[in-house]
Symmetry: D2
Subunit: 375 residues, 4 copies
Amino acid sequence: METLNIGLIGTGFMGKAHSIALKAAPAVFDLPAQPFCDLLAEVDDALAERKALELGFARATGDWRLLVKDPEVDVVDICAPNYLHKEMALAAIAAGKHVYAEKPLALTAADAGEMAEAAEKAGVKTLVGFNYIRNPATQLAREIVASGEIGELIHFRGRHNEDYLSDPAKPLDWHVQRATAGAGALGDVGSHILNMAEYLTGQRISEVFGQLQTLIPRRPLPDGSGGMGEVENDDQAQALLRFDGGLIGNIETSRVATGRKMGLAYTLTGTKGSIIFDQERLSELQLYKSEGLPGRRGFSTLLIGPAHPDYAAFSPAPGHGLGYNDQKIIEIRDLVVGIAGNKPLYPDFREAWRVNRLIEAIEHSHVVGSWIALH
Amino acid sequence: METLNIGLIGTGFMGKAHSIALKAAPAVFDLPAQPFCDLLAEVDDALAERKALELGFARATGDWRLLVKDPEVDVVDICAPNYLHKEMALAAIAAGKHVYAEKPLALTAADAGEMAEAAEKAGVKTLVGFNYIRNPATQLAREIVASGEIGELIHFRGRHNEDYLSDPAKPLDWHVQRATAGAGALGDVGSHILNMAEYLTGQRISEVFGQLQTLIPRRPLPDGSGGMGEVENDDQAQALLRFDGGLIGNIETSRVATGRKMGLAYTLTGTKGSIIFDQERLSELQLYKSEGLPGRRGFSTLLIGPAHPDYAAFSPAPGHGLGYNDQKIIEIRDLVVGIAGNKPLYPDFREAWRVNRLIEAIEHSHVVGSWIALH
Amino acid sequence: METLNIGLIGTGFMGKAHSIALKAAPAVFDLPAQPFCDLLAEVDDALAERKALELGFARATGDWRLLVKDPEVDVVDICAPNYLHKEMALAAIAAGKHVYAEKPLALTAADAGEMAEAAEKAGVKTLVGFNYIRNPATQLAREIVASGEIGELIHFRGRHNEDYLSDPAKPLDWHVQRATAGAGALGDVGSHILNMAEYLTGQRISEVFGQLQTLIPRRPLPDGSGGMGEVENDDQAQALLRFDGGLIGNIETSRVATGRKMGLAYTLTGTKGSIIFDQERLSELQLYKSEGLPGRRGFSTLLIGPAHPDYAAFSPAPGHGLGYNDQKIIEIRDLVVGIAGNKPLYPDFREAWRVNRLIEAIEHSHVVGSWIALH
Amino acid sequence: METLNIGLIGTGFMGKAHSIALKAAPAVFDLPAQPFCDLLAEVDDALAERKALELGFARATGDWRLLVKDPEVDVVDICAPNYLHKEMALAAIAAGKHVYAEKPLALTAADAGEMAEAAEKAGVKTLVGFNYIRNPATQLAREIVASGEIGELIHFRGRHNEDYLSDPAKPLDWHVQRATAGAGALGDVGSHILNMAEYLTGQRISEVFGQLQTLIPRRPLPDGSGGMGEVENDDQAQALLRFDGGLIGNIETSRVATGRKMGLAYTLTGTKGSIIFDQERLSELQLYKSEGLPGRRGFSTLLIGPAHPDYAAFSPAPGHGLGYNDQKIIEIRDLVVGIAGNKPLYPDFREAWRVNRLIEAIEHSHVVGSWIALH
């Protein structure tokens, strides 16, 4: 069997999650190629070596530029901070590597576009880690919508709210500065729900009307000096949406939504049924259908099981529950299947570029106070 | 003890709910005056008499114009169709009666304004039946917000979605025509959440940006002819909101939200806590507070009980649950207390006028595609 | 229309609940007779007069013995403390009155039997206030079971747990003494779930195996002396059950179940479906049915509405929610319909006697450590 | 770093789950030794080789007797059918291997005892896969109980109900025959809740009173002949429990509980608080504490996160959710830590023996109709 050598850059939250998934995926799925944890890059050799040992990579380097050019590496897996994505991805593409990157892909739509076009020109495959769309519950929601089982969609409601910056005493960090993060909540978590809105509905967002707010305009400098630094992007945002199929909807996103830890949720209303989902209960979906006796209609709690997408590979027993990292295992499966089979990957850089454009349209709309059409 | 003679016009859903509440309220609360079900008006004498017997009124009339002028009647209680509110209320006011009317108060803001000003000029008291704000759970939410217990409010999310017109085969009725209903979902159910947004937050909505949609543009004529008639108002609507205290938020409303039966719900996010409420589980409130050990924080389900507003009058035992009509009993208590004690009533015609203005601002904003400030 | 004059004894939690329901019932239901709040008895004249005014009774007396013999009174409604039920009921029966009494009917099965036999001999009607079986959600559960919609029942699980005596500093009161309460949690709240077990399943409990426990054996005397008095009955109890139709099951009951306020709940498992109910969310029922595609099966939340028993009389709109007192309104309807139409009432004194026998069988089983058959 | 060579026998549901966990564990946790997927045994060489490739084992054999004696294997991991556990484990112990086995350990308590004693005599380590106790939510529940945070425990309620044999058309298989399964639901899933009862409470069950029932006494033979075979063990069971610390409780277990997929759930009632957990929502715990203002008390939904046991190794972000296989990853961590550090493992064969004894005591109690003390 073919082996896909993975070169991982970055070992934070996401780098570790990718490593776990790379290790587990071959035991979960029957893969057409074997992903191999080959080379790991960190900011210096010592850290890289320690992390390679911890996460189970064969080789280590303190220089990501070596990694992207390493002849053994088939796929460059970018889990470094967002502001580095562009440089790393372009270097990897230039070296002819497939690129698997975390979201949001870039700080600006222009950067994302440059990356997408470079990848397409080079003929390499790309995949961006919008992992929540891999959740079998969300795959199921999409299937139900696509099949017409709940009729024609008439409303989309989505949110991705968390509270990780709720505490105003939390010092200034990369999340809150333009140069390192681009947009704020809208980019960091809002990007998930924007991508998911199109994934679930099968429609493109054609116009947006947005509103952004920075609630904590200054935060303590991380140097402990007692000085304060400026927060440069949004703490919370919301938008009304028009889709190209006539659907309307709205989204909310926040990093200061006190009490919300994994607050990605959506309601899909159709003419013959509705779906409700909350990622804090990631292995269940609420489904309502306008059929049968009126006195027997209600939202049903479907516990995800082998009758639903991808679950059976994890367990033959229904309702046993998948976790966060299992979504990444499915993502790895899709990466490997796509590369090994030379098939399209979703969402690729072009799709992630679209998310960046949606973010910028919402920001722009906020400034000008009117609907902004997506070109 | 003083007696307040009630003259009820209309005996549909709301007329019956008022009757039940008028009968029960004196046994529930220690009232300063005794509401008496004195005179009932319906469209003809026969129906009026039958309904008076059913609902326990002493007298009956087939002519509401007699009722509003009847010297024995102290309070005119208008539960007739919305398009009749104005004429009835103005006649009652002209006769010097206090007026208790169902919502939405009027078909247009201009009408509502005329009614409010007439009442104020006449010095009569008015109350409009936005009964969901009487729910002890919602009263509790307001108390928590007002006390600062969850810090400063930073986001309001509200919806009032139902599905009573979800079936496209349902014939044309008064709900869907401008001349009888004014706005559609936005007026019928959206009015509740707009009123509640201000009630809960203690802030005034200062600007709105709205979007409306009619999904089922034509419905069968009710005459069974097979002909179709035009739906003239919105099936669903949504809006972004700015409040005068700096708060932002959004609302949704629908009469075609498949599966939602009593879908009034809100999330109040504060800097130190959050509240979640859903009227389909009307006797509980979810409360999160950023205090105590991180590992012990979560949304708590508060079952409404004697420690909360107004509940103890219904039961000394917590968690036993209140129902829809109990909200109306509390409303009757407020009506009687206000009139007997000559105190302000909330929400009065002026406040209901404001709701009509909010509805029209949202409609206007939809047309012009920009934020509309409330004057 | 006929009038049924009610003579109410006792004005605590239950006396007030009955009064509210007596006032509201005629506006809610189309009744064959008009219940009239005629005479109220309390421990002295002054209190009786004050309470008659508050609760809306026409006459008052400080002597219940006068009430039960009063020629105008048709139905004696006993809401006095449990230990007085027997004497009052026997006196009412002797005077030829119908009797409506709160649960548990008596302190012992022997007393309950004496009462049931006296009533039957006298030919008067009796009804006991097991009001939770009137909840439309629970009526619906029974209908579903009886219709075979979930197949044959194979398991019953019930509990009625509360925490009203959870605090050990709460002084000794009538609940905890044999002479005033009979059994403890088992009698006070457990009686509800025992009655409901038979109501829901349509089967008789044929054998029980019980276990009782007094966790707080002594409580402060209510005189504030600092002395302690003995708790004489159970704080919590549980039992395994065999039914005469072959079904097995178990129940739990407690008055010290920290955190539970209205913890009556049941699960009915059938060969083709299951039902879950929790009285803390009294207007919804969870229903699972083994039909349709495996991937679309789940517990459905049925919001109670006009398609279900008795709801439509309260509201034409589904999901609007009923409350505790609404259950009593339905009970009053059943009382009036039964008496006016000379039809059997359920549960009558004989049925309540059965509950007392079940309680004693569980107590006996606890002592002897073996299954006890119900004779 | 030391390597622990694993020899896996059996590649069904559990064999695959172990493989996934063995692969992922080193990337999740910082382990003192490296588990290596060395040798895999299946019923014949071809299957073994195919499965070794699929699950990522280095070597394969069609003869488990070779595996247990293989000098390279450090730990024998038994995921074969239950009736083979004893022979395999004794052979592994005889060869001086550590043994990691799935539950229930043995078909009878006598067998389990023989296995436990053999292991102890041989000085090898043993671990049995009661994986649900590894769930961080359940670890947290135990911590809360042990710390006294909810006072003294006064009641334990547990169930493990599923519906995998709900369909009477499902043919006879190993689950339903004594010679292959031992007890029925009580052994297969009830074993989990019995083990967990002691784990959570920190008390030993001292007496049981049980009731068992076989609802589907005959099932179609699997040969398709149309003949029927006898079901020899329980479809559902329930028991009352006494613990040695004075606590009482009850358990239920079923394999025919229509609608329940992963119905392991418990309620821990303490004098100062309570805990509710349901494995169908495995990453949250409901916690009630009798503290603070009465009007602010309720069950809090704690979303499991880095503040709770073991979660941080999977994700730094709270509420992101763990899945079934993550519990096995924690189990592998415990296995490796125990063996590498020569520390006690829990639950070992002696502890699993105890579970078999509890099962037999419940069965015995059912037959004799009285409490059975655990010796």
